[in-house]
Symmetry: C2
Subunit: 114 residues, 2 copies
């Protein structure tokens, strides 16, 4: 089941790869959120993708899922300690992106929504 990584960066990229995981991590980094709140926080994501990404992050021990058995149902997602450490490791990258956001937007390949 396991796979081998070429280096730590390879492993880390596997964990936060894809369009959504970094955004979900960021949304959860200050506060825990319910499913619906998370959906609104991560603009543009579908329910299916949100669930899918959350399940993957849960299996990686990045995200903790807690169910409150009540009516209406309530499920709260939060970062695990590992998730928080990942978020901290991503801070310099986020800062780099912000520092260069203009250049990056001007050299981006595709335009998703006009």
């Amino acid at each position: 089941m396991a796979r081998q990584y070429n280096c730590g960066l390879d492993a880390a990229m596997d964990v936060i790869g894809g369009k959504w995981k970094a955004l979900i991590l960021w949304a959860l980094h200050t506060e825990e959120l319910r499913f619906g709140e998370l959906r609104r926080a991560v603009t543009g994501i579908s329910e299916k993708m949100l669930i899918q990404q959350l399940r993957e992050m849960e299996s990686r021990k990045i995200v903790h899922r807690e169910v409150f058995r009540q009516v209406p149902p309530k499920v709260v997602y939060s970062l695990t300690p590992l998730g928080r450490s990942l978020n901290e490791a991503l801070l310099p990258l986020g800062a780099w992106g912000q520092d260069n956001v203009e250049l990056l937007e001007s050299t981006a390949a595709r335009e998703p929504a006009a």
Copy 2:
């Protein structure tokens, strides 16, 4: 042509997203490499993907491409200052991956090559 990013991390992930860019960046972070050297350095990549990724990184001003007009042809790739700053911003992430490589390998979803 441009696109808007939700946050700096979003922008950064767009730059190093995909399976290969982080590995290429890492391969170039110590020394400039010729096309063939790079191909051997990034294990498993095809010529097509390598070229494709390099072109994208070139257009993002992450990688510099220098052609030596001679026989046999020689093309050398190196990091730009922006590329080096990106690499530094990725160091904590790489360290995080290394710190947790065992957990990450054991919770990885797929196994690419047995």
